[in-house]
């Protein structure tokens, strides 16, 4: 089965749920609405993607995103599912009943991004202590102990050497506006 055929099959069944789709090499890339993510996941599993590589989170400031990377042990195709969820009320249905290995991945995503997985058997923090406040991998997470990295002028030097206009300290608006403090604070 080619990736295109897989995509076709998915689109037939869940045309409305799939907002974006793309085939890149052997990889099928989909963006799925959170309401139907579980159904899509189950179909994807039934198509042959029985191996869940990873569930990652990502914070796009406007929304959070849960990313499922799937592959198969039978054919070389891969699947890359992105499920955007609301930032203020991030809920998505758990896939632990599809892939049991999703358990810890979802706990990690909950721990670091605060995405709640509906129906998860044991949704607790996993890497951070239970009493930790906040979700560190969100871009607006602040912590007085967290010292944003500065390049100590390295990028400017490089830019000068290359004869470009020295870029000011990166206008990445996503950078938390935290004052620089000594690491020992």
């Amino acid at each position: 089965m080619t990736p295109e055929e897989i995509l076709e099959q998915l689109k037939q069944k869940f045309g409305d749920a799939i907002t974006e789709s793309e085939v890149k090499g052997v990889e099928v890339r989909l963006t799925v609405k959170p309401e139907q993510s579980w159904e899509v996941c189950r179909l994807v599993r039934d198509i042959g993607f029985e191996y869940l590589n990873c569930i990652s989170g990502a914070d796009w400031m406007t929304h959070l995103e849960v990313v499922y990377d799937l592959s198969s042990l039978q054919h070389p195709n891969k699947a890359h599912l992105r499920v955007p969820v609301d930032r203020d009320n991030p809920v998505v249905r758990t896939v632990t009943d599809i892939w049991r290995g999703a358990n810890w991945h979802e706990r990690e995503c909950y721990d670091l991004f605060g995405v709640r997985f509906d129906g998860h058997p044991d949704l607790r923090r996993i890497l951070l202590p239970e009493d930790w406040a906040g979700y560190p991998l969100r871009k607006d997470y602040t912590d007085e102990r967290l010292v944003p990295y500065t390049d100590y002028g390295m990028e400017e030097k490089v830019a000068k050497a290359e004869g470009e206009k020295a870029a000011p300290k990166e206008a990445r608006s996503l950078q938390p506006p935290t004052p620089t403090k000594p690491a020992t604070a």
Binding site: E50, W99, W104, R125, E130
Partner: protein
């Protein structure tokens, strides 16, 4: 920070039909055989394990958050600290991901260097696993034997990189410098020494009936469970599934070498032991072939001073000694990754531990945990 579990809960045991109190025992974080700071809470019925709850995170350092605040080259040393027993493989996986994201080709010689170092690293990593596994089962001597050979690998690495544990030697676009002149002969000498050592390990471990009794039929994870949990590496191959990224999704130049993928289908600790034991032989084969084919030439591609991959995202995976090391990188075109995520093999493998432990004895717990081959630096990130 867990709430204490009330003691004295009376349950009816399915197996024996007897009513008795459950006992909770903490194993770890301060325990000689949890391979670091892992904590398992064991629910026991006498010496049988009813349930096991792993608590991880003691080594958590928010690797991914750090990664988002460093530029692509600067992340390399942090990847060393993921799996500190296989830093080369971690480096390899990471640079591979970035190169794939950039579409970067690297010089031929650098590819060979990468494979040689990664396979030597696999040998070293399996050696330390074998040694500590023996230690878990009460066999101290194998530990020393394995460390003797591992030291030699580390000597080789030191001659190449100047480091013995955290090498940070792979670069995006190639390798920072060539092998030293002595490396080829040293490496061949090591292989010549190492090959006859493997039967010695067999004599003390594989053929020892006490060892066999301890590992056979213990900690079973059926293939179905293994796939559902997404186990990888030797854990998956011990379930009779012939799956190795070096062969099934060839990266770098692995498709140029002749080697077997050892597979056992008993699904138990013994199978995992045998897979890793056999893999050392296969790695030796790969290194030998790579040394023979090693082409001359540059080791570093022409790279920009600041690495800025095009905007996009990639999930790239490679076969580390512990299984599938995946890097999920989202680039926004800036010198720093927008999102940087590590899918660590030991983390996933460990998540299946409670499944494997149910119904085992306390003594088996140590053997099963040893067979998972965890490195907490990678689990906790």
């Amino acid at each position: 920070m867990e709430k204490p579990i009330p003691i004295g809960t009376t349950v009816v045991m399915e197996r024996t039909g007897e009513t008795m109190e459950e006992m909770y025992v903490n194993m770890g974080p301060q325990h000689p055989s949890t391979h670091g700071v892992l904590r398992l809470m064991l629910k026991l019925d006498g010496e049988y394990i009813i349930d096991c709850i792993p608590y991880i995170g003691y080594l958590h350092r928010c690797h991914e958050k750090i990664g988002e605040n460093r530029n692509y080259t600067q992340i390399i040393p942090y990847t060393d600290r993921l799996d500190y027993l296989a830093s080369m493989s971690m480096n390899f996986g990471y640079v591979l991901a970035v190169e794939r994201l950039m579409g970067q080709k690297i010089p031929e010689r650098a590819e060979y260097m990468r494979v040689i170092l990664a396979e030597l690293q696999r040998i070293a990593s399996h050696l330390i696993w074998l040694g500590t596994f023996g230690l878990d089962l009460g066999n101290f001597t194998i530990f020393m034997y394995c460390f003797r050979e591992r030291e030699m690998v580390l000597d080789l690495f030191e001659s190449v990189t100047g480091q013995r544990l955290n090498y940070s030697f792979y670069r995006i676009g190639g390798m920072p410098m060539d092998f030293p002149d002595t490396f080829l002969t040293d490496c061949q000498a090591f292989l010549a020494w190492f090959k006859p050592r493997l039967p010695e390990y067999d004599a003390i471990m594989t053929d020892n009936i006490l060892f066999q009794k301890r590992v056979q039929g213990v900690g079973i994870s059926p293939p179905q469970v293994a796939v559902e949990y997404g186990l990888s590496g030797p854990m998956l191959r011990a379930c009779g599934i012939k799956w190795d990224l070096r062969r099934n999704e060839p990266y770098s130049i692995y498709d140029r070498f002749e080697f077997d993928i050892p597979v056992f289908d008993t699904c138990d600790v013994w199978a995992r032991y045998m897979v890793r034991r056999r893999e050392m032989e296969e790695s030796v084969k790969i290194v030998e072939q790579a040394l023979a084919q090693l082409p001359p030439g540059e080791v570093m591609a022409k790279m920009p001073k600041t690495i800025k991959p095009p905007a996009g995202q990639i999930y790239s995976r490679a076969e580390s000694p512990r299984g599938e090391i995946g890097f999920y990188i989202v680039s926004d075109g800036s010198p720093k990754p927008y999102r940087y995520k590590v899918r660590s093999p030991a983390y996933v493998n460990l998540s299946a531990l409670p499944e494997m432990l149910k119904g085992c004895l306390v003594a088996d717990c140590v053997a099963v945990l040893g067979s998972v081959d965890i490195v907490l630096g990678e689990v906790d990130r």
